[in-house]
Structure formats: structure tokens, C-alpha cells
Symmetry: C2
Subunit: 323 residues, 2 copies
């Protein structure tokens, strides 16, 4: 039986009809004109109708991945910074608009689940998925189940502290891994270097337009020996590699999946993370893990959301406190 | 129904009859004269007979916790450094001697399970247990199940790298957390300081006898302002606190249990780990976790082994490689 998967980004919503093996049968996209929960609901409903019209198969179940913190399995979006939402009963709103129940899951959970069932995680049971995109996140899969933690936020690799008292992070804390290695912060660090007048090839490489700076440019400059770029790049890469290697030691996954925009567009950084696991993980955990690249790209979230629609996730335990 | 739990240490073996709630009904101890697998088997069999004679209840099932790496659920002890064992089919040997099957589990897994069911973890589902004794170890409990990882060695917190290229660890690698914060290494660092002729109150506090150095003495000297002791103690404590805080961020447990000889005998170190979680864990994970002290002390392992005797553990997945 096919299910419906929805991916809600900061600028677009996509809906897809996905079969039980994680193949996309039909998909539709709609731009978000307005980010109020009401407008987003209307936009998504349109994309869903379009996808269903294209697919021409019976569909049962609907899952949506949202970049943000959720209140357990209530469908309430507690915080979604990209959308500017706080405590939005989005599952309910979308269910009313579509006329059927909707399962709201975290976008990274959805992406990891997509990779597990239909992508780079196929056949594995104990998987660690690390995404480095504009932020840094991870998902832990243990015995084929997503680990959610006591309050549903397990996997926040981006907010481990790598330099206590260090760079301010978007989360408001200091010294988080994401403040050094997340895509948004890589760009921020390049801009800071340019603004402080440091001599660097980043100026030329971006054609003098700071809006064109990106992690791929940073990698190119760093590998070409630009000292300003290297300082930013090496520090980010070392923190990231060590953090991932240490999680491999503690979690002992049989597979490590590396994905996200930064790691996809800065292949040398991905290689260094892979090397870091070989060098820094405990010998037994390093020997047990196969390091692979994510396979589904931008489709992992929509596929995972569809596959989770009817399956369900473990519910946080009795001690769980809401974030 | 009561079960039998066995705790195999480096110098003693203990056997206990434990009821289904984790209460010890009777226990017996025997000193290990000789650490060959054959001699240990004979010693344990005697302790078991003594415990059974004392308990006078029917017993079904037997579990044993061993400090070492096991080959999945085969009962084979792959490596047990304290006993000098490699690839010993200990489960089989003990089963022959006792006349019934024996479940062999890792000692830390057993201790964590004991705390979960009958100690500081009661009522919680997502628990992280950190033991700092002569080594540093941890156990992850997710939705009421022990996380074993792809090859059964999940939880090796002691071997995350906190200082790549740093102090040599007993495991042969460099810069492991255990090389700074494990009890054996705390003592080693004090001895190194004394041997190098550094002026320190550790000399007096140990009565001039290096064999009397221990983590409690280190803490006393450090808190009294001894600079040599402080350097060792502060570094160990900072690495430990940050490592535990970061695992709380990633695992998002509802309860964190701190135990082991070092943390029990150096209460200020335990307090600093607790403070570290408050300061360094992500806000949401810090808010979700209750930090508690282990309750069962040295009995956690024997109780946990008994409780695991009939319950079983998840078996590592199809991708698992043997250590």
C-alpha cells in the first residue's frame, strides 16, 4: 500500500506518493508564499492534491517531516526556527485540511528512516546517521528502531560542546559543534573573516559577493592553502571528525551514514570524517562499522516521512518531560 | 522465581540467589586462588553450592557478569584482561560444572541492568549509566532495553578520544578519556608526579607509600589546593564532565546514573560531573534528565546478572562482526 510523504522546508513544501519499498510514484511541489501555519497548511494541501492526482493509486496514511522540535507524538510543533513557529498544533490543522490523520515527525528522523529502509542503511539494524547541512544533526537507529530519548530529542550532535565557552551558537549556547561545523556557521565564519579585512582568496572566489560564499568554496580555498580558509575549515573538520568518531565508539553502529548538503558538497571534509573514525574510534567499534554516503539526497525526508506514516515511532517514556 | 547471579572479579567470585525483584536472598564468596579458566570454574561452582545451600529456595536460571569483551551471546569470553583470558568458552565450561545453562554477560551490562530494575533506575526507560572505577565505562538503556550496538560493545565511553595523540591508555590507543579519568590512571598519574620529584602533599597523604595512593586522596589534595594534584584532578574531571554532558545531549536520557568506585569515593568529582551536565548539555536534554547516584554499590552486578539470567539480551544484528 502506498502512503503519502510530505517534506516541509523553509521555502517549499513537497508531497509525494511513496510505495512500501520507498519508491516515489509521484511528487508535487509548491512554494511557500507565507509561513503562517494557516497558509502553509493550504499550500501543502494543494501539493498533496497534485501528487495524488498524478499517482492514481490508492493511498493510506500520511507522514510529514518538519525541521523543528515536536511535542512527542501529539503533532504539535514546539519550535520551528525556519518557519518562526512556536507551539503550533500542526498535525491537527493539516489533518482537518486533508480529511485524514497525519503523523508529524522530525525532518532528520524522517530522513534517517528513509535512508535506513530505502537508501544507504538497507539491511543494517544498528545505524548512526550524521547530517551536516546548514546545521549539524544525527539520528541513532538501534535494532531497527529510531532512538528518541527521554523527551524525544536524542541525536542532537550539533549541540554537543566542543569548545566550552567558545563561539555562540544559533541555539543560544556557546561552543556547540554546530557553531563551528554547521553550514550556516561556516558561511558566517567566512564573512567574519572578510569583514575583519583578512587577506584571503575567499574574496575572489565569491566574486566579492558575500552572498555567494558556501562550504564548497571554503573547501576549495582551504585545500589550495589559503590560511584564512584553512583555519576555519580545519577546525570545523577536526571537531566534526572527532565528534563522529567518539559517537561511533559509544554507539558501536554497524553502519555510519554521512549526508547533508555540506558533506555532499565538500567531499574532502567527508573523507576526513571517515578517516577520523578509522583513527579515533575505539579499535573494536572502528572494525565493526561500515562508513557510507547517504543515497537518497533530498528525497530521504519525504520517503522516510511516507514510510513512517503508518509504522509509528516509539513514544517517549513515562518519565519524559516536554521540551 | 529466584535466579542465580554470579560476579567474577579479579580476586573473588561471588554467587547469590536473587529474587525476581532483585533482592539478594543468600550469597557466598570464594577467593580465586588461580585464574586459569578451569580453576575459576571450580571456585565458582563451590560458591554456587554454598549460596544455594544457604538460600533454600528453588532456583531457575543462572547469569554471570564478567569484566571483558564477549563474543555476542555465545558464552565465549573474547578478552578479559584482569583474568588474562583470551577466547575462553567460559559459558560452556561453567554450564558443565553446574549442570545447567549459564548466561554470560559483560559486568557493566549486568551492573546497569541491576540498577535499572532494582536500583537507581527504577521506573525509567531511557537511562544512561556511567561507571568510573578503575576504568571508565557506560551502558545505554533505551526503551527499557540495553543497547548493545552492532558488535556488542556499545557504551565504551572510556575509549572516546579527549586528547588525540595524548596519554597512552591501557587499551593501547592514545588520548582516551580513561587514560585521564579512570581510577587506575589517576593513580598512575599521581605516581608519575611523585617519581618525577614534583613537590606535592600527595607524598605525605600517602604516608610515603605509593601503593596507598587512591582517587580519594587525590581529591582531598586537589581541593586543599595542592597544585600537582589539581592539575591531574581538574583535567580528569573536566574531560569526564564534558564527555558525560555530551552523551546526555546525544542520548537524551530521562535518567543518568553515576556510579563506580572513583565517583563513590570522590564525591566532589561526582558533583562536578552533575554540574557539567547542567552547564554543557543541550538545554532540552539537560532539562529532561534526572542525575542520580547508583544505589546498589558492589551488588549491582550480581543482581543484574541474576535478573538477566532468564530474560536475555537482544542479539547483535546480522551485520555484526565479532571483536
Amino acid at each position: 500500500m502506498a502512503t503519502l510523504g510530505i517534506d516541509l522546508g523553509g521555502t517549499n513544501a513537497r508531497a509525494a506518493v511513496v510505495d512500501a519499498d520507498g519508491r516515489i510514484l509521484a511528487a508535487a511541489r509548491a512554494a511557500l508564499q507565507d509561513r503562517t501555519p494557516e497558509a502553509v497548511t493550504t499550500t501543502i494541501a494543494q501539493a498533496v492534491r497534485d501528487a495524488l492526482a498524478l499517482a492514481k493509486v490508492e493511498v493510506r496514511g500520511c507522514g510529514i517531516g518538519v525541521a523543528g522540535q515536536l511535542l512527542g507524538d501529539t503533532g504539535v510543533v514546539a519550535v520551528a526556527p525556519n518557519l518562526g513557529w512556536r507551539n503550533v498544533p500542526f498535525g491537527q490543522m493539516l489533518a482537518s485540511a486533508l480529511g485524514h490523520p497525519v503523523r508529524v515527525v522530525n525532518d532528520l528522523t524522517a530522513a534517517a528512516w528513509g535512508e535506513l529502509i530505502a537508501g544507504a542503511g538497507r539491511g543494517a539494524q544498528d545505524v548512526y546517521v550524521v547530517y551536516v547541512g546548514s546545521g549539524v544533526g544525527s539520528a541513532i537507529i538501534c535494532r531497527g528502531e529510531i532512538v528518541r530519548g527521554g523527551s524525544g530529542v536524542a541525536g542532537e550532535l550539533g549541540h554537543i560542546k566542543v569548545e566550552p565557552g567558545g563561539r555562540r551558537c544559533g541555539c543560544g549556547e556557546q561552543g556547540c559543534l554546530e557553531a563551528y561545523a554547521g553550514g550556516r556557521n561556516l558561511i558566517l565564519q567566512m564573512r567574519e573573516a572578510l569583514e575583519s579585512g583578512q587577506k584571503t582568496s575567499l574574496q575572489e572566489l565569491s566574486g566579492g559577493d558575500p552572498a555567494r560564499l558556501n562550504p564548497a568554496i571554503l573547501e576549495r580555498a582551504a585545500l589550495a592553502g589559503d590560511m584564512v580558509a584553512r583555519r576555519i575549515y580545519d577546525r570545523a573538520t577536526e571537531y566534526l571528525a572527532l565528534a563522529v568518531a567518539n559517537q561511533v565508539t559509544v554507539l558501536n553502529p554497524s553502519r555510519l551514514i554521512l549526508g547533508g548538503g555540506v558533506l555532499n558538497n565538500a567531499p574532502a571534509m567527508r573523507d576526513r570524517v571517515r578517516d577520523g573514525v578509522a583513527r579515533f574510534s575505539s579499535r573494536t567499534s572502528a572494525a565493526a562499522v561500515r562508513v557510507v554516503q547517504s543515497e537518497l539526497g533530498d528525497d530521504s525526508g519525504i520517503i522516510g516521512a511516507a514510510l513512517l506514516a503508518t509504522r509509528g515511532l516509539p513514544v517517549p517514556g513515562p518519565e519524559a518531560t516536554t521540551p
